[in-house]
C-alpha cells in the first residue's frame, strides 16, 4: 500500500493529495497539464522533497527507508529518458539491479535471473543484444519497462509511458501493465489517455491544481461535468462500444460562433 500525502507552499504543485495504490491493481492518475501528476512521480523517486505529509510503503514511512531500500520496493519509469551512450539492451536492463548490488560485487545468479525474467515479461527476447540506440520508440519504452521490472519490488510507477507510441504499441504496453498488476504488483500509472485508463485501470485518481478532485473506479470518476470542469473543455462521456460498463470520453468541438471569437 502506498499513501502519498504532500502539502507544500501556496504555489506547490501538490497541495493536498492522498491516494493509495494496492497490490494486484492498476491505479491510474490523470489530470490536465500542470495538475501535479509529474510532481507526484518526482516525490516517489525521491527527486523532490516533501513539505509535509508522508509516503508509506507497506505501512512503513518511506523516509525511514534508505534510498536503496526504497528503490528495492518501488521501481519508477520517469517521463523522459534519452540514452546518451549506447548499451546492449541486456546490460541496460541489468542496471535495474543497481539497488541490489554492492560497490564491488558482480551480478549474482539472482540478478541474472531477475534480468532474464524482466526481458521475457517485457517481450524483448529478440532484442536482448541490440544496442539501445537502435530501438524504435515502442521498443525503447519496453526496454525501460524491463529495467523497472528487473529492479523488483512490489510497486511500479509509470509516468506517461506511452507518449509518442502508435496505437498498437500503446495497446501492447497497456496490456503489459495489466499483466504486471495481475502478477501481483501495485501499478501506479500516470497517463493522459483517459479512454485507455478507463479500460485498463482498476482505480482512477483525478488531479486538478494539486488536489484530488475525484477518485474511485473509472466509471465513477469519469463524469462529464467533473471532466469539463477539470479540463475546462466541453466533453461527452459515452459507453465504450467494445467493453461493457466502461466509460468513453469524447472531447467536443467548440460551437462555431464561440470558436470564431
Amino acid at each position: 500500500m502506498l499513501v502519498v500525502h504532500y502539502r507544500g507552499r501556496p504555489e506547490a504543485a501538490l497541495r493536498d493529495v492522498s491516494l493509495q495504490a494496492r497490490r494486484g491493481r492498476v491505479t491510474a492518475v490523470a489530470g490536465p497539464n500542470g495538475s501535479g501528476k509529474s510532481t507526484l512521480v518526482r516525490v516517489l523517486v525521491g527527486a523532490q522533497p516533501i513539505a509535509s505529509g508522508s509516503i508509506e510503503i507497506d505501512g512503513i514511512d518511506a523516509r525511514r527507508l534508505g534510498r536503496l531500500e526504497r528503490a528495492r520496493k518501488i521501481a519508477v519509469i520517469t517521463q523522459r529518458e534519452e540514452p546518451v551512450f549506447a548499451l546492449p539492451v541486456r546490460e541496460y536492463v541489468a542496471l535495474g539491479r543497481y539497488p541490489h548490488e554492492g560497490p564491488w560485487r558482480g551480478a549474482t545468479a539472482e540478478d541474472e535471473s531477475a534480468v532474464g525474467v524482466a526481458i521475457e515479461q517485457a517481450e524483448l527476447g529478440a532484442l536482448a543484444d541490440r544496442s539501445t540506440q537502435q530501438l524504435s520508440g515502442g521498443e525503447w519504452q519496453r526496454v525501460r519497462l524491463a529495467r523497472a521490472l528487473a529492479q523488483g519490488g512490489d510497486a511500479l510507477v509509470l509516468d506517461e509511458p506511452t507518449t509518442f507510441l502508435d496505437i498498437a504499441h500503446e495497446m501492447a504496453m497497456f496490456e503489459l501493465f495489466a499483466a504486471i498488476a495481475r502478477a501481483g504488483r501495485a501499478v501506479l500509472l500516470v497517463s493522459h489517455q483517459l479512454n485507455l485508463v478507463a479500460r485498463f485501470a482498476d482505480d482512477l485518481v483525478l488531479l486538478h491544481r494539486g488536489l484530488v478532485v475525484a477518485s474511485g473506479t473509472p466509471a465513477d470518476v469519469m463524469q462529464a461535468h467533473t471532466l469539463e470542469q477539470v479540463y475546462d473543455w466541453p466533453v461527452v462521456v459515452t459507453r465504450d462500444p467494445a467493453h461493457a460498463g466502461v466509460p468513453s470520453l469524447i472531447p467536443l468541438r467548440r460551437p462555431r460562433s464561440e470558436a470564431a471569437q
Binding site: R42, R67, R72, V76, T78, A86, L95, P99, P103
Partner: protein, 325 residues
C-alpha cells in the same frame, strides 16, 4: 571479439611505444641495449640516460595519459556529455591557475603543487557548472562546454596577468608548461603523480557502477536509489583531482580525455568499470605515443606535447560535434 582485440592490441602498442620512446633521443640507443639498460646492464652512460632521463619521461607521459583518460571517461559518463573532458570543461585551466599561484608563492613542491592545482580546478569547475546552470543549459550538452571553454579562457588570462610581472626566463618556462610537456620529468614528480593517479583511479573504479547509473540521467538515477547530486559531485571532484594532478606535473595536455573514451567505447567496452580501466590503458598509450611524436617530428627541437594532442583532438572534436547535432 573486438573487445579482446582492443585490450591485447592496446597493451602491445603501449609496450612497443614505451620501448621506442626509451630508445629514441639525442643519443639513440639500439633496441637490444634498451632491454639491457632497463635491467641495469651494459654501458653505464646508456644506463644513466635510460634510468634518469628517458624512463621518468616515459613514466610521466604514461601516468598523464592514464589520468586524463580516466578523468574523461568519468566526466563524460556522469555529465551525460560525450564532449566533456578536463581541458574543455576548464578543469585543467583552473588547475593551471592554482599551480601558477602556488609556484609564485613558493609552494611548488611535487606534493603540494597537485593540491594547489586541485583547488584551482575545483573552483573552475564549480564556476563552469554555475554558469551553465544560470544559462539554463542543463539539458543541452553544449552550454556546459561553452561555459567551460570560457572559464578556461579566463584562466589563461589570469595566468598571463600573473606572469606579466615575472622575469622573462620564468615566463618562457611557464609558457612551455602551458603548452603541456613531460620534458622536465623526474622520479619524485613521477612518484607523486603515480600516487595521486592510483588513489583517484581506484576511487573512480569503485564508483564506476554509480557512473553507469548517473549516465541514465538524474531522475532515473534517483529512481534506482542513487543520490544523483551527491554522486555527481563526488565523481566530478575525483575527476578534477586526477586532471589537476596531471596539470601540476605536465601542464595543459588537452583532448586526451575527449578522444580516449570514444575509442574505447567504440571497441565495445560500455560499462564504466572496464571503460575507465580501458581509458587508463589507452590514454597512457596515446600520450606516450604523442610525446614520442613530439620528439621525433621536428628534430633536433621538440614540439609541445599539448600541441600534438590538440592536433589529434580538434578534428576528433569536430567529428563528434557533427554527430551530436
Amino acid at each position: 571479439m573486438i573487445r579482446h582485440l582492443f585490450w591485447i592490441g592496446t597493451a602491445l602498442a603501449l609496450v612497443a611505444l614505451v620501448i621506442a620512446a626509451v630508445a629514441f633521443g639525442a643519443v639513440p640507443i639500439p633496441l637490444g641495449s634498451v632491454v639491457d639498460g632497463l635491467a641495469g646492464h651494459g654501458d653505464p652512460a646508456a644506463v644513466a640516460i635510460i634510468r634518469e632521463l628517458r624512463l621518468p619521461r616515459v613514466a610521466l607521459a604514461l601516468l598523464v595519459g592514464a589520468g586524463l583518460g580516466m578523468a574523461g571517461a568519468a566526466l563524460q559518463g556522469s555529465l551525460r556529455n560525450p564532449l566533456a573532458e578536463p581541458y574543455l570543461l576548464g578543469v585543467s585551466g583552473g588547475a593551471a591557475v592554482g599551480a601558477v599561484i602556488a609556484t609564485t608563492a613558493g609552494l611548488g613542491g611535487a606534493a603540494t603543487l597537485p593540491l594547489a592545482a586541485f583547488a584551482g580546478a575545483a573552483l573552475a569547475t564549480g564556476a563552469a557548472l554555475l554558469v551553465a546552470r544560470a544559462a539554463g543549459g542543463h539539458a543541452d550538452n553544449r552550454v556546459l562546454l561553452m561555459a567551460g571553454v570560457m572559464i578556461g579562457a579566463f584562466a589563461n588570462a589570469a595566468i598571463m596577468v600573473a606572469l606579466s610581472g615575472a622575469p622573462a626566463e620564468s615566463v618562457r618556462g611557464a609558457l612551455w608548461w602551458m603548452m603541456g610537456s613531460v620534458a622536465d620529468a623526474s622520479w619524485p614528480s613521477v612518484a607523486w603523480l603515480g600516487a595521486y593517479t592510483l588513489a583517484a583511479g581506484i576511487a573512480l573504479l569503485a564508483l564506476a557502477r554509480e557512473i553507469d547509473v548517473l549516465a541514465l540521467g538524474a531522475e532515473p538515477a534517483s529512481g534506482l536509489g542513487l543520490d544523483a547530486a551527491r554522486a555527481g559531485r563526488r565523481i566530478f571532484l575525483l575527476s578534477s583531482l586526477l586532471a589537476a594532478a596531471t596539470v601540476a606535473s605536465a601542464g595543459l595536455v588537452g583532448f586526451v580525455g575527449l578522444v580516449v573514451p570514444h575509442v574505447v567505447r567504440g571497441a565495445g567496452v560500455r560499462r564504466h568499470r572496464p571503460l575507465i580501466a580501458g581509458c587508463a590503458l589507452a590514454g597512457a598509450t596515446l600520450v606516450v605515443g604523442a610525446d614520442l611524436a613530439a620528439r621525433v617530428l621536428r628534430p633536433p627541437g621538440e614540439l609541445p606535447l599539448g600541441a600534438v594532442t590538440a592536433m589529434i583532438g580538434v578534428p576528433f572534436f569536430l567529428v563528434q560535434l557533427r554527430r551530436l547535432s
